[in-house]
């Protein structure tokens, strides 16, 4: 009893405890290292393949460090692939940037209305918006396609950009929750100055809501940048393709220049990687909150 209370077990017990701690530590490191290796090796293989000559790509047993290192694959990607890779990058950037702006704008405005303004119907509308999050994308796919067709927007980027400007239930919810945590004194002082609700939203709330806005923007970026189904439905001309769609179609065409495909895949991952390094906390936060996966 006394020994336990003072926290000093007899020497033999202490020795055993240290041993079991050592074993536990070893097991923990073993698990983590094996897992990290499993996660990393495919990416290393991707980079390695992207720097090989065609001859080295089809070599068995596989070569891990290319010799010679063929950096020019990253130049050839822009010339040799059966779709204009540079144009695809521009298309992807354009669609992603506009979608992120549109979704953040429309969702944050709605979030502010639900968080701070009193109006008839708010109690009905809010649950309806939340409920839409449970609908699988496939259910709305066909009618939206028919709508876009009626608007003659097939083979344009509009179907991938315009809907973003018309709200986002998840973003609305996320930013509303954040706005609710802000002190009300903020709007009171602005109201005394005669500011209207939009002004308060744009000039008071948005500037101080960076964590929520950034979390949502990062998530939207991931979703749009990595989207395949939307571009696959709406875009057929190679000049309109996004990077994800172009790369996906290489497989469909049974293209076998793996070194170029891997180089293209590496390039398509670079913006995500850069953003991840710059805004890691928002990625993790957004993922934890949303349940959106790659």
């Amino acid at each position: 009893m006394i020994e336990r209370a003072t926290g000093t077990p007899p020497p033999s017990l202490r020795w055993r405890k240290r041993l079991s701690q050592g074993v536990a530590r070893f097991v923990v490191y073993l698990i983590i290292s094996v897992a990290a290796g499993t996660m990393l090796v495919p990416f290393l293989w991707m980079v390695s393949t992207s720097l090989k000559t065609p001859g080295q790509v089809f070599q068995y047993p596989p070569v891990w460090i290319p010799n010679p290192v063929k950096w020019s694959n990253y130049r050839e990607v822009f010339a040799v692939l059966p779709f204009p890779f540079a144009t695809a990058i521009v298309n992807s950037v354009k669609i992603t940037v506009l979608s992120v702006v549109g979704a953040t704008w429309s969702a944050s405005m709605a979030a502010f209305a639900f968080a701070r303004l009193r109006f008839r119907g708010s109690g009905v509308l809010f649950p309806i918006f939340l409920g839409t999050m449970m609908i699988p994308g496939a259910v709305t796919l066909i009618p939206v396609f028919l709508l876009m067709r009626a608007l003659h927007w097939i083979d344009t980027h509009n179907p991938l950009i315009v809907p973003a400007f018309f709200g986002n239930a998840y973003g609305m919810f996320l930013m509303r929750q954040f706005f609710l945590t802000l002190p009300r004194d903020l709007d009171d002082s602005a109201k005394i100055d005669g500011a209207n609700p939009f002004w308060i939203y744009a000039m008071v709330y948005m500037p101080i809501s960076k964590p929520a806005v950034a979390t949502f923007a990062v998530l939207t970026f991931l979703g749009v940048w990595n989207d395949l189904i939307g571009p696959a439905i709406y875009l057929t001309p190679p000049s309109k393709m996004t990077m994800a769609l172009g790369l996906a179609f290489l497989r469909g065409g049974n293209y076998t220049a793996w070194e170029l495909m891997m180089a293209g895949a590496v390039i398509s991952l670079l913006p995500t990687l850069a953003l991840y390094i710059a805004a890691q906390q928002y990625f993790v936060q957004g993922m934890v909150l949303s349940g959106i996966k790659g």
């Binding site: 336990r4 990416f43 293989w45 393949t49 609700p197 990595n226 996966k293």
Partner: protein, 318 residues
């Protein structure tokens, strides 16, 4: 304060009316602003969500090829899906196998990993970034990469099997094999989802009050007892959330099947979402495709509902 005292003396109706009128004007103005700021979202709800949900239900009861006007055929599309459309039945089975195959292994492995990362060791942020990498990577890039990893002659998988002494004839053709193509997609899905599940588990584990473990240790509970009677029950809300998400996400799987196998070989990897995509946008059979979408909706809904019901049996909320 002075005014309230005066109010008793003053005529009763007038101040009340005067007070209410300007207020209601302000309230009306606030309401107008609210609806103005909600306008984009409400339009989006009507044209891109609620409207389409109703419309696709209607389309699912028609024969519609986009060129000719839709023709009402009642529940024929639904009946056909389960009686005549062999590919759909196969796709449905594949999707169920995919969901029930990937979910338990992914949850178990990621919990194990989260438990390991929850120890006091160095370099956790670094490891967490590595585990997160596959999750944030584009599905297309990952699918292309894994197609290459699975290459029967030059891929890593068969190279490793070779190192382990598996003879050339015994090594699977992976994506080209009707037996191995679906498991191959499932292995990839577990790999890609691990970081996400682990991150959520880690957040859950860090929310457990350490005093539980201290109390258990004083009572002499071993690591297994601590895990079984403290960690597992207290982490169960997280496990529940991940199960729901895995069910919802898994049932809609599309990208790997589309990029890696186009549903082949011999429909071995055709998923419901992929079959829907081809039916709608390649064969322009919008009625059938809409019926598939509603079957998917029903399954996802039922899955979520069931899990919400079942959670009472095993989820402990503090």
């Amino acid at each position: 304060m002075n005014q309230s005292a005066g109010g008793v003396v003053a005529p009763k109706s007038r101040p009340a009316v005067r007070l209410r009128l300007p207020l209601s004007g302000l309230a009306r103005q606030e309401e107008r602003w609210a609806y103005l700021m909600l306008l984009p979202s409400i339009l989006g709800l009507v044209f891109f969500t609620a409207g389409p949900v109703v419309e696709s239900l209607a389309i699912s009861f028609t024969r519609y090829n986009v060129v000719r006007p839709p023709q009402w055929i009642g529940p024929a599309n639904y009946i056909q899906l389960f009686t005549k459309d062999r590919v759909f039945v196969k796709a449905f089975k594949n999707t169920c196998l995919y969901v029930f195959g990937t979910t338990p292994s992914s949850i178990t492995l990621s919990l194990l990993l989260a438990l390991a990362l929850n120890q006091k060791i160095r370099g956790i942020p670094f490891f967490r970034s590595i585990f997160f990498l596959p999750t944030i990577s584009s599905g297309v890039a990952v699918a292309l990469l894994w197609t290459w990893l699975y290459n029967p002659d030059f891929g890593i998988f068969n190279w490793i099997l070779g190192l382990l002494g598996v003879s050339r004839e015994m090594r699977p053709a992976w994506l080209a094999s009707t037996t191995w193509a679906l498991p191959a997609l499932m292995i990839m899905a577990v790999w890609q989802g691990l970081g996400y599940n682990m991150t959520i588990f880690l957040a859950g584990l860090q929310g457990i009050d350490p005093s539980y473990y201290e109390a258990a240790e004083i009572d002499g509970a071993g690591w297994w007892a601590r895990f079984r009677y403290i960690t597992l029950p207290l982490i169960s809300p997280t496990t529940f959330f991940l199960l729901v998400m895995a069910g919802i996400g898994g049932f809609q799987v599309f990208v790997p099947a589309f990029v890696m196998t186009a549903g082949g070989p011999r429909y071995a990897t055709t998923t419901v979402a992929l079959h829907l995509f081809y039916t709608a946008f390649q064969y322009m059979r919008m009625g059938e495709a809409s019926a598939m979408a509603y079957v998917m909706f029903a399954v996802v809904f039922t899955l979520t509902f069931l899990q919400l019901r079942l959670q009472k049996l095993w989820v402990h909320y503090e």
